[in-house]
């Protein structure tokens, strides 16, 4: 398990490749890799957004993410997992979050990745403040439920 809080922009594709080639030693066991990348949009809730600041709670954020990964490890057969989350000032098109899960089988990889992402959204202490194109600032009030059916 690796959890990183990044104050700098990161390339999630490079991070996954680098992690797999340098940090995983049982490559023969890997049958499935599931990758989720969250990217900053240039719009939200009917407004054009030109930037965002992500605040976090150093110490608690990492602790909550570790507990989420441990819960996933209890429920699914995982070889390893990598979470990187950006903080600080972010621009549209930049990556906010990477969740990568390595497993022997796709069911574990898909389901654990989805669990990790939804748990991160509801439990990890991060807060987004948007800077609109009008120069108005606003806090994002809450995260939506990713499992909710679209009407």
């Amino acid at each position: 398990m690796t959890i990183k809080i990044s104050t700098q922009a990161f390339d999630p594709f490079h991070e996954v490749q680098s992690y797999q080639s340098t940090r995983l030693d049982n490559l023969g066991a890997i049958g499935a890799t599931s990758i989720f990348i969250g990217t900053m949009r240039d719009f939200n809730e009917n407004a054009a957004v030109k930037g965002m600041t992500l605040e976090y709670y150093p110490g608690m954020t990492e602790k909550q993410l570790e507990e989420i990964v441990i819960q996933a490890q209890c429920q699914w057969q995982l070889i390893d997992s990598l979470i990187i989350h950006r903080v600080g000032n972010i621009l549209p098109h930049e990556s906010i979050v990477l969740v990568a899960v390595w497993s022997s089988h796709r069911g574990d990889a898909f389901d654990a990745n989805r669990y990790l992402m939804e748990a991160l959204k509801s439990k990890a202490p991060f807060w987004k403040k948007e800077l609109l194109i009008t120069d108005q600032e606003r806090w994002v009030a809450s995260n939506t439920n990713g499992y909710k059916q679209k009407s």
Binding site: L54, E55, Y57, H85, L120, S122, A124, W127, W139, N143
Partner: protein, 77 residues
């Protein structure tokens, strides 16, 4: 006993400060800690509270040396 109180995001912005160091002579719940630190300012109903970086309920007791944190719903990812 002494307690560190921390605030994040919109709560921090609205209060105009990020933390308090408080001293109490009796055991308090997390909610009572908020009320002592912020008289006349009710804790927003959707706030989350953590003691020593674990989520707790508002009626959890706070011990000497604890760090209590109050913050709005989380919006990461």
């Amino acid at each position: 006993m002494s307690i560190k109180v921390r605030y994040f995001a919109s709560l921090k912005e609205n209060l105009g400060r990020s933390e308090d160091e408080l001293t109490f002579t009796r055991l308090l719940t997390a909610h009572e800690v908020w009320n002592c630190a912020n008289p006349g300012k009710p804790l927003p109903g959707n706030s989350l509270v953590a003691i020593n970086m674990d989520y707790v309920e508002l009626d959890n007791l706070v011990k000497d040396g604890d760090e209590v944190a109050f913050f709005p719903p989380v919006t990461g990812g």
